[in-house]
Amino acid sequence: MNETPLLEVGELALSYAGVPALHGVSFRVGRGRVAGIVGESGSGKSTLGAAILRLLPPSARVTGGNIRFDGRDLLALSPGEMRALRGTRVSFISQDPLRALIPTLSIGRQMSDIQYRRSGGRQRKRRRAAEMLERVGVPEPEQRLRAYPHELSGGQRQRVSIAMAMMMRPDLLIADEPTTALDATLEAQIVTLLRELQAEAGCAMIFVTHDLGLLPELCDEVVVMERGEVRETGPVGRVLNAPASDYTRMLVRCDPARVAEKTRRLPTRSGSWKASDPPWLGPPERIRRGEPPVLAVEGLEVTFRRRSWLRGALGTRGDFVVRAVRGASFRVEQGETVAIVGESGSGKTTIARSIVGLQKSERGSIAVGGTDVTGLPPRALKALRRKVAMMFQDPVGSLSPRFRVGRLVTEPMVIHGIPTRDRRGEAVRLLDLVGLDASFADRYPHELSGGQARRVGVARALSSSPELVVADEPTAGLDLSIQGELLNLLAEIQESIGLAILIITHNLAVVRHISDRTIVMHRGEFVEQGTTETLFRSPRHEYTRRLLAASRHEPGESQVKASARTGDLDGETP
């Protein structure tokens, strides 16, 4: 190829408030090609995407290198010239669809506004917008133009963002983790859509992601980044199958979806795990069936009602009722790991909240160690919460920023009146249990990395010596290497103290390895439950099959093809 590439980044160096974020990054994207930029959090991959559009925060300074787009150095353009390129020749899709659109303006208004450079009146612009919405698969586009962003589901909002980015037929589309905030089924749909639109428009695309599984779906080339440096570039098949750099090898090794055999010990960055090692499933006597079991849920029903007093008084509309959980029954034994999987809105988090007494149930019973806890007075609930600990999704957000770690991990002891003569000693013991040294007791939450904050979350959950830990999306937002460490830690603790674990997640790749039994939830109902092996090998329910197809990254079969084969997924809940 002697044609000049569409985009050529050469030795780009950049720093935030003096702290280097990118060091000498070089890569090129050919016309109509798709380049994947992959890396863990903090690798600079999103910074790179924003740098191409020159939309970095004011604290960022480019300290060297150049970005050539179609032969012109973008860094040398005037702000006006740069703006002329944005939206028409280079477009952008951001990560979080809930924050991507202006909340106070209708979809139609926003889609018309970005056509300001085009001729035609308001009607014509709206018609163009409606056509584009139709193309990206938004139902009833004319009506959606009148809607405000908050009236659409996350998946639909991401489709609107894509429609807006593609409307001007750009030469280069930069997509910054466009599917990270979405469920597996939605992710598959959005990836398919992006691929179709890219092929139709013949544009080049930069697809920023942390998910190796998505790379073969979309990309021609891959740029692997770590700590602001490019570790490796090359065709996608070669990079994934025969990685040249140690870092890429580590990334590939840590992807649980690429571990063929079931294992309870996931590969980690530092771990000595090798693909040739025999699968490690833990001592078989780990699970101790008992009567009563640690947790027994029978026919649980949770209904959300929203009653507006004025509406009631005026009789304009009845109650707004959502049956979030419809007749859920399951057990968790001592030392067992049970996973509830499903898309967002399926009701899985509602079950978790009911078990720890944060959510009132309509019908059914939740027995912890034989005692029914539904309808218990607040005082009795406190005793329950000592036996059942919750690990929250957002690790830093669930730790009070004003307390030190030592105080945070022992806080449940104080709340439950567990006598401790030496609070610091207890804190150090708990931190040791989760693999953090004593010095962490004096740190504040903002001084922890994402992985360390999760470990503190585990220590905090364990401090009241619970029998059951309920973990809500324990792997959300974690890099693969840290995810492995965290789950291995939980498994180790489980073996040493016979803990029962209930995991709420949509990460099927992880569930396959770590959980003993799996429950599939869809629209408030349990559609299937059984041992994880059976469920993954021979799913009986149609929905389970679709869910598995959407999340499977199997060598030789692409995820998108798999989900396309099983038909369109109705994953969206408004």
Binding site: P57, P103, T104, D113, Y116, S161, M164, L310
Partner: protein
């Protein structure tokens, strides 16, 4: 939207009801009463009893309150104890002066505060931003009474640029506006600082949002992104604060009206309080409560116009 407005208006009425009841009790609980002040030390017990009966002060407090609301529905606020004029007339005569002062103050505070805050946010950490910051805080920390007194001394007594007293009742509109300048300065100067700080903070937050970066990524101009998109969202908290701020401004307006001898509601409350003129106190307090409730209701409605999520009752 209609439902939203209806609900806010109902809530407003309820607030007026509660506020007036509370104030009725508080005023009566204060030491001193109009009988002693009107009759002086020589009033006989019989005269006192007769006057009490005539003013309805001999009845139990709950009965008085119910009667007050009853006649209120007929537009009757009772008679001024001293001048025997209907209180409603008195209040309506003074009300426009205070409303003009408050409106001018709101206008002044937003017309200067919003652009200043916006400018500071878009020029973050520049020298201009620091100057605006220091100036805002300095202005916030001067009590309105001090501004009124020194404003009077400097601009009226010494420089003789502006009139010192009155509301320019006998003059034309220009004269009335002329008379409004110093009182407005006293009431609004603090608020320019508040509004500038508030707008700056919320602008900085909004300008950091993904959707603003995305708007720029579509090639939209800075003018549209900053003023049409970001500012519109960023003024929402300011609108709420200004709505509640009308209450504080009413407090400052009392000082301003006293210092500049401006015949408004504030001056009316002050004069009536000195002589425990219950009907006038209640009438003018009712008027200021209504002003406050209308202001907060309007700010709620403005917020609902800005943000469709509020309009659709998602804030619960």
């Amino acid at each position: 939207m209609l439902l939203f407005v209806l609900r806010r208006i109902l809530l407003g009425l309820l607030i007026v009801l509660l506020a007036v009841t509370t104030l009725y009790c508080l005023v009566q609980a204060a030491p001193g009463n109009p009988i002693d002040i009107l009759l002086g030390p020589r009033g006989s017990p019989a005269m006192k009893a007769a006057l009490e009966a005539r003013l309805g002060l001999d009845q139990p407090l709950p009965v008085q309150i119910v009667k007050f609301f009853g006649s209120l529905l007929e537009g009757d606020l009772g008679l001024d104890i001293k001048t025997k004029r209907p209180v409603a007339e008195l209040v309506l005569e003074r009300l426009p002066k205070t409303i003009a002062l408050l409106a001018a103050s709101l206008l002044f505070a937003s017309a200067l505060g919003i652009p200043l805050g916006c400018f500071a946010a878009t020029h973050r950490d520049s020298i201009a931003d620091r100057i605006v910051g220091v100036a805002s805080v300095s202005v916030i920390s001067i009590p309105p009474l001090i501004i009124a007194i020194y404003g009077l001394l400097l601009f009226a007594a010494w420089l003789k640029w502006l009139p010192a007293v009155g509301a320019g009742d006998r003059g034309d509109l220009a004269d009335q506006i002329y008379h409004l300048v110093l009182p407005t300065l006293a009431v609004a100067l603090n608020w320019i600082g508040y509004v500038a700080r508030l707008v700056r903070a919320s602008m900085l937050e909004i300008l950091n949002e993904d959707y603003i970066r995305n708007a720029r990524a579509f090639g939209l101009g800075e003018g549209r992104v900053v003023f049409r998109y970001a500012l519109r969202i960023a003024v929402a908290p300011t609108v709420t604060v200004l709505g509640i701020g009308v209450g504080y401004m009413l407090g400052s307006a009392i000082f301003a009206e006293i210092v500049f001898a401006r015949p408004g509601i504030g001056k009316l409350i002050y004069d009536a309080l000195l002589v425990r003129n219950y009907p006038v106190i209640m009438g003018s307090v009712l008027a200021s409560t209504v002003i406050l409730v209308v202001a907060t209701t309007v700010s709620d409605i403005l917020n609902a116009l800005i943000d469709p999520r509020i309009r659709q009752g998602q804030e619960a």
